[in-house]
Symmetry: C2
Subunit: 185 residues, 2 copies
Amino acid sequence: MASTRDLLIQAATRLLDDGGPAAVTLRDVGRLAGVSHNAPYKHFASKQDLLAAIAARELGRWDRSRSVSNADESSVRQMMYSYIRWATRYPARFKLIFGPWSSESAELADAANHARAALVGAVGTAQDGGALPSGDPERVATLILAVAHGAVDLAISGHLSRSGKGHTSAEDLVDDLLHHLARVR
Amino acid sequence: MASTRDLLIQAATRLLDDGGPAAVTLRDVGRLAGVSHNAPYKHFASKQDLLAAIAARELGRWDRSRSVSNADESSVRQMMYSYIRWATRYPARFKLIFGPWSSESAELADAANHARAALVGAVGTAQDGGALPSGDPERVATLILAVAHGAVDLAISGHLSRSGKGHTSAEDLVDDLLHHLARVR
DNA sequence: ACCTGAACACCGTTCAAGT
DNA sequence: ACCTGAACACCGTTCAAGT
């Protein structure tokens, strides 16, 4: 019962994952969805609009993922692990969502803020339990997110592979930050 | 005395800054450089190769920027501030350098490693002065770089603007991390 | 060695029809 | 309301020549 619109988004997502935004040609999208090469224009104003729909659907998944907040920092750690796993598995979607244009879509901004609210809640709970330093929970959450986001972006682009002797992963860097934050006097 | 190759890179960089990679058409590059639309093929194997040359030149600038290491963490802070200022001013170059393909170029990897060595040195000096926690300096440097990189990427894509009450900048997040690291017991 | 102009295949987008 | 096929302008790349 998938609508044509859904089929188009599915096809476009597959092409995006396989070869990046350049590989998302409306002709191939139509071919994969079983329609003509410009049927997409009946559902999306432009290719940019189709890509935005992919990004919106992707962010929507985070809203539906439920989470529990523990008194320690383990919930925060697990959220960041999930984030890193998702970005590593779907780098093209990750790059797409954080493209320069994404801020222009109110739908994307709303979904991102809603997803961040869960992280802020987990940070607040960990602060109450003494597992994270005090201070504006929004601000602490943003710091942790910045580390996870930066680490995984460096990893994806190959700038994290051989730093130092061994291999340092994005997860390692999140662990380092949380470990340091837990020891702040 | 600029060579045709340099003129092509200059023209391509201007187009990149103005409209992103899609705006870098070989026809416009040639027009801006005063040559035909496919003269670039005598200097670069492909458009991708031309973009890689832009990235390499950009990373080369960092190698030539000298820096002093102070006993406190101020040198590290200034390096990250420079990084943020550069990425904010030239977001398209920033996004280009950290594209998924950048790891395939040995020239780019070398330049990035060389630039990072300066940061590691400053981190080591700050550790000796007690301004940063002990541990593998490469690892601590990577953590700090991840924060700066992630924060500025979030800022560029508009995901940092209204977090919490006021405005949190990428510089603020670097300050937060350094402040926390200075208080680790 | 470096450059030009024509040509080819491909892509985003538009438009006039079709049901 | 949704889809099709032809058409247009544009782009990356190749090729045969030109100096």
